[in-house]
């Protein structure tokens, strides 16, 4: 997979390295700012509120 991407990046190795680093950063940014906040809300394991019924959905802590 990575070898395949590497072969398809244009230019000599410095240009390829720069492009690869850019892609990695872009993917990391998407994960960090878009995916992780949503995922965190789904699997939130830290609930500190006492309430009935036991928290699973909206409120929690």
């Amino acid at each position: 997979m990575y070898a395949w991407i590497w072969r398809r990046l244009p230019g000599a190795w410095p240009a390829k390295t720069a492009a690869a680093a850019g892609i990695v950063l872009a993917v990391a940014a998407v994960l960090w700012y878009a995916l992780f906040p949503r995922l965190e809300a789904q699997i939130q394991f830290d609930h500190g509120v006492v309430q009935t019924p036991a928290p699973s959905g909206t409120p929690g802590g």
């Binding site: 992780f36 965190e40 394991f45 830290d46 609930h47 500190g48 006492v50 019924p53 409120p59 929690g60």
Partner: protein
């Protein structure tokens, strides 16, 4: 065959890296968010306290209500208590259950907070002993509560937040504080509850640098 195996291997390594990044986000990234919100809330609240007092002062949901300090957790330990206990509120800091008593009032001042993630304001609640002080700063006064008890309860035990804990029907005669957080750490299986009662009321010490 070899290409397939290599592809699977690469996917596994990638998945591992993503999980590591997610753990970093949970433990550190969420705390950065809380820190930013706390700084903003603290500025807003302290500015409000400096301004002239309005007779019909009301705390809105999601806004700063008081400052909590616990000397046992160190001199620098302070968090703005937010009004409300929704998920969004608790991401900003410890939250006051709307409808429970305000600091210093007759009844039960109930605050919930994260034990892990989002700056983990109540991370060390388990270290509190009887007699430890919990300081609540408001506009004019500092309320000094002393810890009286610690209990582990089920998440549905809402009567810990009653004006008289465990006696929801009784009328309050004491000024109490109750802190709730999750237990054990990184789990939502139970709740750790810290009970305390008002020991003294002091004029608020106005800090020099606003911290």
């Amino acid at each position: 065959m070899r290409t397939v195996l290599r592809g699977v291997g690469e996917l596994c390594i990638t998945a591992g890296l993503i999980v590591m990044l997610f753990v970093t986000y949970e433990l550190w990234g969420t705390g950065r968010y809380t820190q930013g919100q706390q700084d903003r809330l603290q500025d807003e609240m302290l500015n409000g306290w400096r301004a002239a007092k309005v007779t019909t002062e009301k705390v809105k949901l999601g806004e700063g209500l008081a400052m909590i300090r616990v000397p046992r957790f160190g001199k620098g330990y302070h968090f703005v208590v937010v009004e409300g206990v929704t998920r969004a509120d608790l991401r900003k800091g410890p939250g006051h259950y709307p409808g429970t008593a305000l600091p210093g009032q007759l009844g039960n001042f109930v605050v919930s907070g994260h034990r892990t993630t989002y700056s983990a304001p109540f991370n060390r609640l388990g270290e509190l002993d009887r007699g430890d002080r919990i300081l609540i700063d408001t506009r004019d006064r500092q309320y000094v509560y002393k810890v009286t008890d610690r209990k582990i309860v089920k998440p549905s035990a809402t009567d810990v937040a009653a004006p008289v804990p465990f006696h929801p029907k009784r009328r309050p005669t004491e000024r109490l504080i109750t802190l709730t957080t999750c237990h054990p750490k990184y789990s939502a299986a139970e709740r750790m509850i810290i009970f305390g009662e008002l020991a003294e009321t002091l004029p608020r010490v106005r800090p020099a640098a606003g911290k």
